[in-house]
C-alpha cells in the first residue's frame, strides 16, 4: 500500500455482528469484565508509569481490548497463546492473575515472574500463556511448537499467537505460517493491525495491497473481524477454532484496531494525526460499543455493567496497592532460575 490508510473505515468484511446473542449472561459479563479489566489495568499502568513507579519499557494495549478478549474467551487453560511486547491485554484475557501482573510490572519479588521478567515477559505456563515476548516475531514459531504438542495429544487443544501489523513482516512469522500448514497444526494466527509499527504506519511496512491475501497465499483461511467489536472478533475466532480444533489445520483471523497510547510510554507520537485517538475513543471504543449493544438488545443492564466497572476498579486499585507494598527482589534472587541447579 502506498496511500495512507483512511483512519476510520469499517474493516473490509466486517461481520455486522448481531450474533453475540448466542452468548449467555455469564459469558457476556465475563467478556465485558475482561475488556474492562484490561482497560483499567492499562490506564492505571499509564498513570503509575508517569509517576515513575514502573521500571523499564512498557507498551500499553488500551483500545485493542476487543481483540484479546474476543479471541481468548473461546479458550481454556488447556489451550496455549503466545503474545508480543504489548502483552498485558493478552495475559489478562488468558486468565493471568492481575495482581501478580501488576506486581511483576512493578518489579516485585512475588510478581508473576518473580520480578525478573517485567512488562515484556509476563508468562504463566499453567494458564497456557507462553509469554509476552520482547522479540518481534519470536512468538509465532513457539506457538507452532505448542500446536505440535496439541496435535500429538489429540485432545482438541489449540495454540494461538498474536501478531501485530509490524510483526507480520518478520521472516519468522512467515516461516511459522508455512510450517503450520505443512504440519496441519491446530493453530490460530490472530493478526492485530493497530495501524502502526512503532513510528511507522502499517501500510508502509506491509508492502502488498492486502495483507489478508498474503496470509491466504500461505494456504491459511482468514476470517476478518472488526477489532473494535468484541462480538465480531468472537465470531471470527469461533469460526477459526471450529476448523483448527477439528483437524482442519491452521487458520487466521484478521482484525483492524488502534492503540490509544504511544508505541511505548513516553512516545511523542509525531507520526499521528492530532485528533486520531480522540476520534477513535469517541466513535469506536470497544467498551462503549459493548454497552451500546447491551442497551440495544438487552443482554445486560447498565446496572450490571456498572457493577462490573466498580468491581474491576476495586481490583485494579488493590493490585496497585499490593504491588506498591510488595517486597522487592533480594540480591540472592539474581542467581536462581538460571538452570535446574541454580
Amino acid at each position: 500500500m502506498t496511500a495512507e490508510q483512511d483512519v476510520i473505515t469499517a474493516p473490509k468484511a466486517a461481520s455486522a455482528a448481531r450474533h453475540g446473542d448466542g452468548l449467555t449472561r455469564e459469558q457476556l459479563l465475563s467478556a465485558y469484565r475482561q475488556m474492562k479489566t484490561i482497560r483499567e489495568f492499562e490506564e492505571r499502568v499509564h498513570v503509575e508509569n508517569a509517576a515513575g513507579a514502573i521500571p523499564g519499557f512498557t507498551h500499553l494495549y488500551c483500545g485493542q481490548e476487543a481483540v484479546a478478549v474476543g479471541a481468548c474467551e473461546h479458550l481454556s487453560d488447556a489451550d496455549y497463546i503466545i503474545s508480543t511486547h504489548r502483552g498485558h491485554g493478552h495475559c489478562i484475557a488468558k486468565g493471568c492473575d492481575v495482581v501478580g501482573m501488576m506486581k511483576e510490572i512493578h518489579g516485585r519479588r512475588d510478581g508473576l515472574n518473580g520480578g525478573k521478567g517485567g512488562s515484556m515477559h509476563i508468562a504463566d505456563i499453567g494458564k497456557g500463556m507462553l509469554g509476552a515476548n520482547g522479540i518481534v516475531g519470536a512468538g509465532q514459531p513457539i506457538a507452532v511448537g505448542a500446536a505440535i504438542a496439541c496435535k500429538l495429544r489429540g485432545e482438541g487443544r489449540i495454540a494461538a499467537s498474536f501478531t501485530g501489523d509490524g510483526a507480520s513482516n518478520q521472516g519468522t512469522v512467515f516461516e511459522a505460517m508455512n510450517m503450520a500448514v505443512v504440519l496441519q497444526l491446530p493453530k490460530v494466527f490472530v493478526f492485530e493491525n493497530n495501524g502502526y509499527s512503532e513510528h511507522t504506519g502499517a501500510s508502509y511496512g506491509i508492502g502488498c495491497e492486502d495483507i489478508v491475501k498474503r496470509i491466504e497465499g500461505f494456504g491459511i483461511p482468514v476470517w476478518q473481524a472488526d477489532g473494535f467489536d468484541f462480538f465480531s472478533v468472537y465470531e471470527a475466532m469461533g469460526k477459526a477454532l471450529e476448523v483448527s480444533r477439528n483437524g482442519g489445520g491452521p487458520t487466521a483471523i484478521y482484525c483492524e484496531t488502534i492503540r490509544y497510547f504511544g508505541h511505548f510510554e513516553g512516545d511523542p507520537q509525531n507520526y499521528r494525526a492530532k485528533d486520531e485517538v480522540q476520534r477513535y475513543r469517541a466513535e469506536k471504543d470497544c467498551l462503549v460499543n459493548f454497552r451500546a449493544r447491551m442497551e440495544a438488545d438487552g443482554g445486560l443492564t447498565a446496572a450490571e455493567l456498572d457493577a462490573v466497572d466498580r468491581e474491576v476498579g476495586a481490583l485494579i486499585e488493590r493490585a496497585v496497592q499490593e504491588a506498591r507494598n510488595a517486597p522487592r527482589p533480594r540480591a540472592e534472587d539474581l542467581l536462581t532460575n538460571v538452570y535446574d541447579n541454580y
Binding site: Y80, N113, G114, G117, A138, V144, I148, T172, E175, N178
Partner: protein
C-alpha cells in the same frame, strides 16, 4: 562390549529414549526424508548424516517430524513444544546454521526459565560442528564457545561414541535447553558402547590420561589428537593430565583447577577461533583461580582468527595439529 560408531551410538540413544518416553519428539529437515518424493519411500534419509535413521517407521509422523527449511520455526517449535510439556530433539544439520535461528536460542530457550519464574524448556538441539571435510567457511565452524557464552543453555560436545550416547540420554532428560554438538570427523569413530541405558552427568569432565608434568584440556575431535600426542610424550617420560570436559557449559572447573594446581602448567587445545573462545575461557580460569600454582605461561592451541578455508591444505593449516600441540606442551614444560 559391542563396538559402535558415534553415529550408531547417537542413533541408538534416540531410539531408546523415544521408546522409553512418549513425550520425546524429533524434528528437523529430512530427519526422515522422502515426504513428497516420487519413490514413495519414507525414512529415505534418516537425517542427512543418517543419525535419525529408522525413527519414523518406529515412532510415526506425529513424533518424527520432517520440516521445511525454516530453522527459526524449527527451533521455535522445539521451544514451544518444550514449554508445552514435550521433550523435543531438534536437528540443525550444521551448527553454522544457528545464524538463521539464533534468536530462538539466545533470547528464547536460554531465557525462559529466568524470565518466566522457573518455566522449564527441556529441548535438545543437535548439530554438527567442526572442520576437516573441506566444507569451507559456512559448514565447518565450531560453535561451542559462542554458545557457552550464553547463560541459560547447556552445551555438550562428546569426543567419542560412548560419551555421545550417555550425554545424549542425559540431554533429553535434562530439564534445561541443551545444545548437543556432534563433530563430523567423529561420526565413524568407534569404541565400546553398552547396549543399555546410561547417562553421563553434565559438568563432569573426564581425566583421559594422568600425569604430573602438565595439564592438557582438549575438546571434540581434538581429544583424539591430544591423546596421541600425550601418549607419545609419555613414552619419553613427559606425563600429562589430559582432560576432556565433555560439556563446555556447565564446565567442570574443579577438575581442571585441581589438575593445574598439581601440574602448574596448562595447555588448552580447542577448535573454536581464538578470540573470546573456549581456550581463552579455560586459560582465564587458571589465571584467576590457580595462579599461585602456575609455573609457566598458559598455552593455547586454536585455529587463527580467520574463517575456515576451503582448500584441504589450508584447512589442515587452520586446524590444531599434533606438532603444534606437542610444541605447546614442550614449551610449558620447558619453563
Amino acid at each position: 562390549m559391542p563396538k559402535k560408531s558415534m553415529r550408531e551410538a547417537i542413533n541408538e540413544a534416540l531410539h531408546l529414549e523415544m521408546a522409553r518416553d512418549p513425550s520425546v519428539i524429533v524434528l528437523g529437515e529430512d530427519v526422515s526424508g522422502g515426504a513428497g518424493g516420487t519413490s514413495g519411500q519414507r525414512d529415505a534419509a534418516g537425517g542427512v548424516f543418517g543419525l535419525t535413521k529408522g525413527l519414523l517407521p518406529k515412532f510415526g509422523e506425529h513424533r518424527v517430524i520432517d520440516t521445511p527449511i525454516s530453522e527459526s520455526a524449527i527451533i521455535g517449535a522445539a521451544n514451544g513444544a518444550a514449554l508445552a510439556g514435550l521433550r523435543p530433539v531438534a536437528e540443525i544439520m550444521f551448527s553454522d546454521f544457528i545464524g538463521v535461528c539464533f534468536d530462538q536460542i539466545l533470547n528464547q530457550a536460554a531465557k525462559f526459565r529466568y524470565m518466566f519464574n522457573g518455566a522449564k524448556a527441556p529441548l535438545v538441539v543437535r548439530m554438527t560442528v567442526g572442520a576437516g571435510r573441506s566444507a569451507a567457511a559456512q559448514h565447518s565452524q565450531s560453535m561451542h564457545a559462542l554458545l557457552s557464552a550464553i547463560p541459560g543453555i547447556k552445551v555438550v560436545m562428546p569426543s567419542n561414541a560412548y560419551d555421545a550416547k550417555g550425554l545424549l540420554l542425559q540431554a533429553i532428560r535434562d530439564d534445561d535447553p541443551v545444545i548437543f554438538l556432534e563433530h563430523k570427523m567423529l561420526y565413524n569413530d568407534t569404541c565400546e558402547v553398552p547396549d543399555g541405558d546410561y547417562t553421563i552427568p553434565f559438568g563432569e569432565g573426564v581425566l583421559v590420561r594422568e600425569g604430573e608434568h602438565a595439564t592438557v584440556v582438549a575438546t571434540g575431535q581434538l581429544v583424539k589428537l591430544a591423546t596421541g600426542v600425550v601418549d607419545r610424550l609419555a613414552a619419553e617420560g613427559v606425563r600429562c593430565d589430559l582432560i576432556d570436559p565433555r560439556t563446555t557449559s556447565p564446565l567442570d572447573e574443579e577438575l581442571i583447577l585441581e589438575s593445574v594446581r598439581e601440574t602448574g602448567r596448562l595447555v588448552v587445545v580447542d577448535e573454536a577461533p581464538p578470540r573470546c573462545g573456549f581456550a581463552a575461557d579455560v586459560a582465564a580460569l587458571a589465571a584467576r583461580e590457580a595462579f599461585a600454582s602456575l609455573r609457566a605461561p598458559v598455552a593455547t592451541v586454536t585455529p587463527p582468527h580467520t574463517p575456515v578455508p576451503f582448500a584441504p591444505e589450508l584447512e589442515r593449516e587452520y586446524l590444531p595439529d599434533a606438532a603444534r600441540v606437542e610444541r605447546a606442551i614442550r614449551s610449558v614444560i620447558a619453563h
